[in-house]
Symmetry: C2
Subunit: 345 residues, 2 copies
Amino acid sequence: MSRSQSKASDSAVASTGVIATAHDVARLAGVSQSAVSRAFTQGASISSKMRRKVLNAASELGYRPNVLARALITRRSKIVGLTMGNVENPLFPLVLDKLSTRLSEQGFRLLLFTAKINAQVDKQIEEFLRYRVDAIILLSTVMSSWLADECHKAGIPVILFNRTVKRLGGMCGVTSDNDRGGREIGRHLLEAGYKRFAFMAGYEDSSTSQMREHGFTESLKEASVPAPIRVIGDFTHAGAVRAARELLSLKKRPDAIFCANDQMACATVDVARYEFGLEPGKDVGIVGFDDIPMASWPSFSLTTYSQPIDEMAVKTVDFIAHLGKKAPHRQMVVPGKLIVRSSTR
Amino acid sequence: MSRSQSKASDSAVASTGVIATAHDVARLAGVSQSAVSRAFTQGASISSKMRRKVLNAASELGYRPNVLARALITRRSKIVGLTMGNVENPLFPLVLDKLSTRLSEQGFRLLLFTAKINAQVDKQIEEFLRYRVDAIILLSTVMSSWLADECHKAGIPVILFNRTVKRLGGMCGVTSDNDRGGREIGRHLLEAGYKRFAFMAGYEDSSTSQMREHGFTESLKEASVPAPIRVIGDFTHAGAVRAARELLSLKKRPDAIFCANDQMACATVDVARYEFGLEPGKDVGIVGFDDIPMASWPSFSLTTYSQPIDEMAVKTVDFIAHLGKKAPHRQMVVPGKLIVRSSTR
DNA sequence: CTGAAAGCGCTTACAG
DNA sequence: CTGAAAGCGCTTACAG
């Protein structure tokens, strides 16, 4: 009594930590606990009178079904695990948003781990497995093929978002058409009259970077133009600054640079303009990939290849939501779109 | 048999969906199921011989404790719910990363919902409650005071990150010293000799924006300088572009603009430079708040107030991890630091 | 230190 | 449609 008085100034309602259970609701409503469960279960056979009785008692007690307990029985946690590398890339918050929104609509929740770009996230995946997630999405992260097997054995689908691997194992991948993107960018630069080309890769073992490069190189080859000079920017701003300096310091410096993502292209624009006095578009063509919001800002005005992250998210979630219903394609590729702005002429 | 053969080309190991339980491990190891549990429980009384026996059997079966079942009994899900508004602000991925990393270290997982900036997220909070989260973090989102009460009653702490409210109810807030930040920015601009000031607010009912504005206005008042012109930029790029155009079109246009965050300040730099031909720093002083990575890029080179998100994340997680141990401050304020760059003279 | 047993809060056959 | 009962996969007193 004196305790509750001394705390009264802090808050009107004391924190009890007591949470109503289905049993409490059943007792108050004068029905069985099964009935309470049915009132909260989609499509359970229950009379509307009974449901109303239960719902009234439930709201009186502030009852909320414990989904952890439900998950134990149904063996569906409705949780999707997601690991995100490269937090620095503005594309990923957008991807996260799309995925989160669409997953919510389908009744799924997102359990998130952040990591370093391209990091091996076995530790986090193990944790997902302990939480009995219904699916796993990898964003710019990597897992061992041993663990991929474990996931497969456990019946947990793994989706590589914006990436793929040679040996998919039990996994599947969702990407935009990176090869075609690189190709269209190459053709665009050729038509614009650029002569000496460079490609700024993400990192060596990124399928995304590789395929963009492949398409680009092929388009140049078709025009009998020498292969592009090649540098590596790590998919980061800092890495791209280094790589751009290297490129622009060459005696025979390139007059067009295709960066494997917008983040690196923005850095390259800054280096060109403020360190070398070169005006993007005029003195040097700079192209990115992704079409992040920043790409359209006047400071960058980046020619780029727009990634259809909306559609990619839809495909990803549809795959997860229709688990087992239909055998999906292992590798889903969604077309993107070339966006020409003033960072190229 | 014929089925497994027809699938053989797809993967070496068939997806069985069968997951080992503590019972399976117990049987294989020839011990009780309790022993298995103890082998996986921190500080449980178990001989090392027994533990080894269990662990061997467990690894043979690929056993992973079901933390959902554990959560049911311990009443600790080790899940923290987080709602994030304003996905567009580059500060938030960083915040997410810090929180995620530190929470992981303390054995907590992040259940994430994204939302619109300043959105009311009662729906998502209800979902957190059904998942029996151990704590809730709100990032640029808002919940009804009724639900805040519900959380309090259920013993679930709610932390407002980078925000506060007048009536905290059962909640608590973690912010940087916004008032002081605004004040230091005001003094810096005065010293630099700027004369006509403007403030670009986030939105009306944001404590963050209000306190930054308050400090700013106070510092001008102390110098007997008229109150700043005031516009609203919604904390977004698009909103800031509109607001900046409005400001710079005035007959008596301001020569110094303090934007309530860096995101808006970057937009203001672009509008000033590319639409009005004004060079930031020289023709017009532009200041932000946060010190996002972009702020240091040459294109923006933003004078700003660095938010100590590292420390803020630490305080947040410490609070969550020490649940109940000690009564924390309801409102935690961490000092930041003025960073002067060339967007002001 | 170890095991048998109860129980966390639910869902779901199984009878009625 | 409804209830009693079994059970999801664990943890944790309780004896020994």
